[in-house]
């Protein structure tokens, strides 16, 4: 059994303008020790998916359905007391913005200890000791002294490390990281990713990493979910998504990336904007931006189905296999040809 099993998850928000279908039928699972990466543009539902799993959406005006089984227990229907026991202890989350997700008026040490005290029967002293251990583990120099500091005394990279230390303080089985490195410089990003990788090896935790940086995806993920307009456009192992992408949206994402290893005069661009989730387009939600659009795309929403020869690689597209293979090879050959 998978550690986390999300089945047909839907999250709708009631707004003054109507119902926003922020997540519309998402299914995936994460195994112990594995890293799942969720990619997509802003507003594609990546973050809402994770917030729903964590039970962090506002109760009012949110309608959730489906299942999110964590070790067999459904997180969506669970009581709030049980959820609080799991949250921060078995499942922890690293938020995107380290500037705003720490409490500015409490010392770092106290904030770390609070997370331990909430979930373990220990004294404040033991909790502080545990906090210090983690602060050292995430590579903060002079950790003893830094425990006494306030968040504003830390740089962005250091604050993000504190966030990671806080998330890991209770050895979670599942770590959800929402754009953990987006606000950071490449050098700091490399440090943070190496750190998460080491911690995963040590504790055999599962990680869900939300990002729009395909470079980060390629280097950290085992499995990838590509989301577009609240739905899964394509999902599969990282090698199959990068090696044999089967959906024009994924091609667009891969092609639009300037990269160090190739030399392209022009980037592939996906024309237009992501659609409004209030009134998503009929049929395939990508059809207004898709260069391969056919009549059927405008009428029928393509189901997520396995591609031939790989049962774990799912894609939602009406295009025939032959065209998809040919176009995907063209894209990959294009970048490779430019590289050589």
């Amino acid at each position: 059994m998978a550690l986390l099993d999300v089945k047909d998850l839907k999250t709708y928000f009631r707004t003054d303008d109507g119902i926003v279908k922020a997540v519309d039928g998402v299914t995936f699972s994460v195994e112990k020790g594995q890293t799942l990466s969720i990619v997509g543009e802003s507003g594609s539902g990546k973050s809402v998916t994770c917030l729903t799993v964590m039970g962090l959406n506002p109760k009012k005006n949110t309608i959730s359905s489906g299942e999110a089984l964590f070790k067999g227990e459904d997180l969506l229907t669970m009581g709030s007391r049980r959820l609080r026991q799991i949250r921060g202890n078995d499942i922890a989350m690293i938020f995107q913005d380290p500037m705003t997700s720490l409490n500015p008026v409490h010392r770092i040490g106290d904030q770390l200890a609070e997370a331990v005290l909430l979930h373990q029967d220990v004294t404040k002293k033991q909790a502080l000791k545990r906090g210090l251990e983690l602060l050292k583990a995430v590579g903060i120099p002079r950790a003893e002294r830094r425990m006494e500091d306030y968040p504003h005394q830390f740089s962005g990279g250091m604050r993000q490390r504190v966030m990671i230390a806080m998330a890991l303080v209770n050895d979670p089985d599942l770590l959800i990281a929402d754009e953990p490195t987006t606000a950071l410089d490449v050098t700091t990003q490399a440090q943070i990713l190496a750190l998460m990788n080491n911690l995963q090896k040590e504790f055999d935790s599962a990680i869900i990493i939300i990002t729009h940086d395909l470079g980060v995806v390629a280097e950290t993920a085992d499995d990838v979910v590509v989301m577009y307009a609240a739905e899964i456009a394509e999902q599969g192992s990282v090698d199959s998504i990068f090696g044999r992408p089967h959906m024009p949206y994924t091609w667009g994402l891969l092609g639009s990336l300037p990269r160090l290893d190739t030399d392209l005069e022009r980037l592939v661009q996906i024309k237009g904007q992501p659609p409004s989730l209030l009134r998503p387009p009929a049929g395939c939600r990508f059809h207004p931006r898709c260069p391969y659009v056919m009549d059927i795309c405008k009428k029928e929403d393509p189901p997520l189905k396995p591609v031939s020869g790989d049962a774990d690689h799912l894609a939602a597209c009406h295009l025939d296999e032959e065209t998809k293979d040919r176009e995907a090879q063209k894209l990959i050959a294009g970048t490779l040809a430019a590289a050589s």
Binding site: H212, G215, V216, S256, R266, Q273
Partner: protein
């Protein structure tokens, strides 16, 4: 420290004469204490002796970590900040000391595109006004001409000219950045300084803006100074690249040279830290992790600014003698006592090389 050598611009004939020459530019922000009698107790050396030049039609990329002085440098070049010392020559004219009134007609020749498309457009003004404002300030054309010009510009940057009367909030991030580009283009500038124009955007939208900037350069012969922290983006758009660290230019080279044979260990570390969007190559990649954060510019390290984090640090040399920008041919300059012999290199090789060469 004397660091007056100007990096020679690229020598190939694709570009015109030097449009912008910056010599030994410094910008120090005073740190004061006291309420009535403020005395200066220290200075933040945001930019501390940067020299470079940009030729007409060329794109100079500027990279570095946050806090390295990229944006301050750009604002000094635009004379939005008063430089502490140094010389800025634009189109053959020294603009370092000229008055605001004299600067005004020059403003239309150098424009800026800002990082945050949400903060850089006035939310209470219509798009037509935002784009037309520069035209009105410089009294270029009548009302009808201005309107026609604005609609033309909106079309050039790929927006619907009918959106003339809309407000910024009605547009998405990518569209807003297009408005920012249209505004910069309005007065036919020679130079556009882009300060992180795509870092707030999604990859697909980022590609649209990068393609747009390239097309505009081709069509209008624009010169760009393009600031970004994303090395992939800089590589894509630049002809030459300047790497900045703690207010100094540590390496300037053509794009080809910088990315294939970097000389400064900092450049090497930056390059090795960029994730590659290819699962196989990516997993094998071993980034050269440089420890710690950028030092505080109030109290920067002595001699070589990078020595506390450098894998090739030599005690008694790097922390005593300040490295000068030295030439490696073809306009490639770097400020390092122990430049990299080859590339790519692993972290161990970088360090071992430093031990063997310490004999000299």
């Amino acid at each position: 420290m004397a660091q007056t050598e100007v990096a020679p611009a690229s020598t190939d004939g694709r570009f015109g004469p030097e449009l912008l020459v910056v010599e030994d530019l410094k910008k120090h922000f005073p740190v004061t204490r006291g309420i009535i009698f403020q005395r200066q107790i220290a200075a933040i050396k945001a930019v501390d002796g940067v020299s470079f030049s940009v030729r007409q039609g060329e794109t100079l990329g500027v990279v570095g970590e946050s806090g390295c002085g990229k944006s301050t440098m750009a604002r000094c070049v635009m004379r939005l900040l008063e430089p502490t010392s140094g010389r800025i020559v634009f189109d053959g004219r020294d603009i370092t000391k000229i008055s605001r009134a004299d600067m005004r007609p020059l403003r239309r020749e150098m424009m800026m595109v800002f990082q945050d498309p949400y903060a850089s457009l006035n939310p209470r003004k219509r798009v037509g006004f935002i784009v037309a404002e520069a035209l009105e300030v410089h009294k270029l054309g009548t009302e009808t001409e201005t309107k026609r010009r604005v609609q033309e510009l909106l079309e050039v940057v790929g927006l619907n000219p009918e959106h003339y009367n809309r407000f910024p909030h009605e547009f998405s991030g990518g569209q807003r950045q297009r408005i920012g580009v249209a505004r910069a283009l309005a007065v036919n500038p020679k130079l556009i300084v882009c300060d992180e124009p795509v870092s707030a955007l999604d990859v697909s939208v980022q590609a649209q803006i990068l393609n747009l900037l390239k097309d505009l350069q081709r069509d209008f012969g624009l010169t760009y100074v393009f600031i970004a922290h994303d090395l992939n983006v800089v590589r894509h758009i630049s002809d030459r690249v300047m790497v900045m660290y703690l207010g100094h230019a540590v390496e300037i080279a053509s794009r080809q040279q910088l990315y294939s044979e970097p000389k400064h260990p900092y450049t090497g570390a930056l390059l090795s830290a960029v994730p590659i969007p290819d699962p196989q190559a990516g997993r094998e990649r071993k980034p050269i992790v440089i420890e710690g954060d950028v030092p505080n510019p109030i109290n920067p390290p002595k001699a070589c600014w990078f020595h506390p984090r450098c894998p090739r640090f030599h005690e008694g040399h790097c922390d005593v003698v300040t490295p000068e920008l030295t030439s490696f041919g073809n306009g490639h300059v770097a400020a390092c006592h122990y430049p990299l012999e080859r590339w790519p290199m692993t972290a161990d090789e970088m360090r071992m090389a430093s031990q063997t060469s310490s004999a000299r």
